[in-house]
């Protein structure tokens, strides 16, 4: 099977990778790697990583876009072709994606998905259903064993995952199915919800039935006595064109079918979540023990990891800043030349700045998909304000006698701008660019939320795992980079700002 798949991959690729790791090549140029996505929780990341490593073990170049977002984001990315495959659950597919048009059994989903160009594997072997959980002492005090018992205690505080709150098969289904009277229902991040539960800040939260935390906190999982939650078999969704293009890739993913039991999944989750083993290692261990496949961990040391993230982060900031400069300086000039238009421009750029950066990123997803594109666009929009405002202020702040001198010399509007006004405004413009760059370095950490990588990656994972060292692995270099950027601009200032205008000199 293994050998056949490798041969198949070779036949498709027309090249001869001797070891499993090198990327598949077509006609000398590297074929685009198969992109496996995962949702922003540990189990999905483990499954996504299992997929990537299985592909790699078959000699198929693959990358894992980790923790990209929720169901909608992943599904849209898959349909649009930004991802080739990602793990999901049958109940979610049936209700959330297909809107209840097809039943939750895999065979019932297959034709409906095929119409959209998407294929589905058989169940990976376990179910990860939604459940509601409470601390044992709360269960004891109120006599809670079934979800229907909750109806008698309207004072209980619910802290639910944001996605669960909104999903058709989530909170609305439970609330209506059990006629739950609780009013105190808050939306939280999944992992923060567990901590809030442990701290007694909330009483009830939604769980995944394979969550490691159930075991650790000894939580009581309430029985779904009215069968509100559908079946949630874990499956891989993939693009049918992947199957046509690279059948070996789908065959590799299929090797996971029926191979992971619920107990094993809880185990894997516990290793990643509680023991804080890197997801790559957790996945590699499983593949080695259960499938006899050589899971490939990109055995990166901290240094290599840091270099990779630094490169991603810098690329995000540089691209966003370049875009922002190209757009903002002309806008600032226009605003300075036409006071009426200027007020509108400054107000508009100011409004962009008031949109929370997180929301701005999410708005970009429907327009630009996931990955670096939307992150760069959002960062660039964010970087506009300081540059536009400083360009405008720098130009309008030029002493009137200098502006008059330039006019009296008989220079055209454009020549005055180029030879006199922009050089005079250069220190202000550069200060604006510097501010924008430093802000962008910080804001770019949010890029990891839409799969753009960078220093945000360890921060996000660190938040999920409550791992301070992991958070610092992202936060410290981000802070250092911000300082570095500041220093770099001080140097650039020396080169770019005319000698007669530098700080500390009387002009």
């Amino acid at each position: 099977m293994n050998g056949a798949a490798v041969l198949l991959a070779l036949a498709v690729s027309g090249a001869a990778p001797a070891t499993p790791a090198p990327p598949v090549r077509i006609g000398g140029a590297p074929a685009p790697p198969v992109r496996v996505g995962s949702k922003a929780f540990v189990e999905s990341e483990v499954l996504g990583e299992l997929g990537r490593q299985l592909l790699a073990s078959e000699g198929i170049a693959a990358e894992h876009r980790r923790a990209v977002g929720g169901t909608r984001v992943l599904w849209e990315a898959l349909v649009r072709g930004e991802l080739d495959a990602y793990p999901d659950y049958t109940g979610t597919v049936a209700k959330e994606i297909l809107g209840g048009a097809a039943g939750p059994a895999v065979e019932a989903l297959r034709p409906a998905l095929a119409q959209r160009g998407i294929g589905v594997t058989a169940s990976l072997g376990f179910e990860d259903t939604y459940a509601l959980g409470v601390r044992p002492e709360v269960a004891q005090r109120h006599g809670l064993a079934k979800i229907s018992d909750l109806a008698r205690h309207p004072g209980l505080r619910f802290g639910l995952t944001n996605e669960f709150l909104d999903r058709a098969d989530g909170w609305p289904a439970v609330r209506d199915g059990y006629r739950l009277p609780q009013r105190d229902v808050r939306g939280l991040d999944h992992d923060l919800a567990y901590r809030a539960l442990a701290a007694g800040q909330i009483d009830v939260t939604d769980l995944y039935s394979t969550d490691a935390e159930i075991r650790r906190q000894g939580l009581v999982v309430l029985e779904d006595d009215r069968r509100v939650f559908p079946e949630y078999q874990a499956v891989f969704l993939y693009r049918l064109d992947l199957e046509a293009r690279l059948p070996a890739a789908v065959a590799a993913l299929r090797r996971l079918e029926g191979r992971i039991s619920a107990a094993q999944m809880i185990d894997l989750n516990a290793r990643a979540q509680l023991d804080r083993a890197p997801v790559e290692e957790v996945a590699a261990g499983f593949l080695r023990e259960r499938l006899g496949a050589a899971g490939t961990i990109r055995a990166e040391g901290r240094g290599a990891r840091l270099r990779g993230r630094t490169a991603e982060h810098l690329a995000l900031v540089a691209a966003a800043l370049a875009l922002a400069i190209v757009a903002a300086i002309p806008l600032g000039v226009w605003a300075a030349l036409r006071p009426a238009a200027g007020r509108v421009v400054l107000a508009a750029v100011g409004v962009v700045q008031t949109v929370p950066s997180l929301a701005l990123l999410v708005f970009m997803i429907p327009l630009l998909g996931i990955g670096t594109g939307p992150a760069i666009a959002a960062l660039a929009l964010y970087a506009l304000l300081p540059i536009v405002r400083n360009t405008h202020a720098g130009l309008t702040g030029i002493a009137p006698e200098l502006r008059e001198s330039a006019r009296a010399l008989g220079l055209s509007r454009w020549a005055r701008l180029r030879r006199v006004e922009l050089p005079l405004a250069a220190p202000a413009i550069l200060a604006g660019v510097k501010t924008a760059a430093v802000i962008a370095v910080g804001t770019a950490t949010l890029g990891a939320l839409v799969g753009a990588g960078g220093y945000g990656q360890p921060i996000l994972t660190g938040i999920r795992l409550a791992s301070v060292p992991l958070i610092l692995e992202g936060a410290v270099p981000a802070a250092l980079l911000a300082l570095g950027v500041q220093g770099l601009f001080d140097l650039v200032e020396r080169g770019l700002v005319p000698r007669g205008l530098r700080r500390g000199r009387a002009p």
Binding site: A408, G410, A415, R419, R499, G500, R505
Partner: protein
């Protein structure tokens, strides 16, 4: 340029600043080759008249004629026919003295040799030492800055030279030196010169025609001797008297 027309002419020119304040109507002709001084107390409208002449301000009423044709304030290139020294010199702080002086010539793509030759010629005329050209305005003395500003104004060899309080901020010694040098330069160049000053002695020293302004209107125009001997209004005599009181007998300013 129409033959025989004044180099510059204001015809009923009015510039309003808000509902109360206005300059004009002004009727004034500057003959080609003449030197004319606009004098008067602060706020009389001297600089406004100069800016109307340059097209830096657009008159609300009336017209400004340059060589007999109406001046279009939107025509930037037209201003290359003037040399203008703004109050305080108006040198650009980011450019060296050389780049300030040669800014427009360079923009017009003069070649290096021509620019160097012109700098040398005008540097000699303005009596500037050869080592000032690489300096920034902040590294020049105020007298040198004024001279560089004059070189810049003269660079394209304009027919008209307009100066707004060119010596206003200078110490008395520098001022006296510069007055001598400026007059010598004007006499050699035979240009039409309009100079704004509040100093009567300076006006008389530079200009054949004195135009006394007060509250936005021309009170009297003519040679120094005419104004001194036959003041049109008591204000003219008062203005002359106030200035003469500042001088000591036998001391030239």
């Amino acid at each position: 340029m129409q033959p025989g027309a004044p180099a510059l002419e204001l015809r009923g020119a009015v510039k309003r600043f808000g509902p109360a304040a206005a300059v004009g109507p002004i009727d004034l002709a500057v003959p080609a080759g003449a030197s004319l001084a606009l004098i008067g107390p602060s706020g009389a409208g001297k600089s406004t008249v100069l800016r109307l002449m340059l097209g830096l301000l657009r008159p609300d009423e009336g017209a400004v004629l340059l060589g007999g044709t109406p001046l279009d304030p939107d025509d930037d290139a037209l201003r290359r026919r003037y040399g203008y020294v703004v109050q305080g010199g108006g040198l650009f702080p980011h450019l060296s003295a050389r780049d300030n002086a040669a800014l427009v010539a360079r923009h017009l793509r003069w070649d290096r040799a021509r620019i160097a030759a012109r700098l040398e010629e005008l540097g000699a005329l303005a009596r500037l030492p050869g080592d000032v050209w690489e300096r920034l305005p902040s590294e020049l003395s105020s007298g040198q800055a004024q001279r560089v500003s004059l070189v810049r104004a003269l660079f394209l060899d304009p027919a008209l030279l307009l100066l707004d309080e060119p010596l206003g901020a200078l110490d008395p010694i520098t001022r006296a030196e510069l007055q001598d040098d400026l007059r010598a330069a004007f006499q050699r160049l035979r240009k039409t010169v309009v100079i704004v000053t509040h100093d009567l002695a300076e006006a008389a020293f530079f200009a054949e025609i004195l135009v006394l302004l007060r509250a936005g209107r021309i009170v009297q125009a003519g040679a120094f001797a005419d104004l001194a001997r036959a003041p049109a209004e008591p204000f003219v005599a008062r203005f002359f008297g106030a200035q003469r009181a500042l001088q000591l007998p036998g001391v030239r300013v």
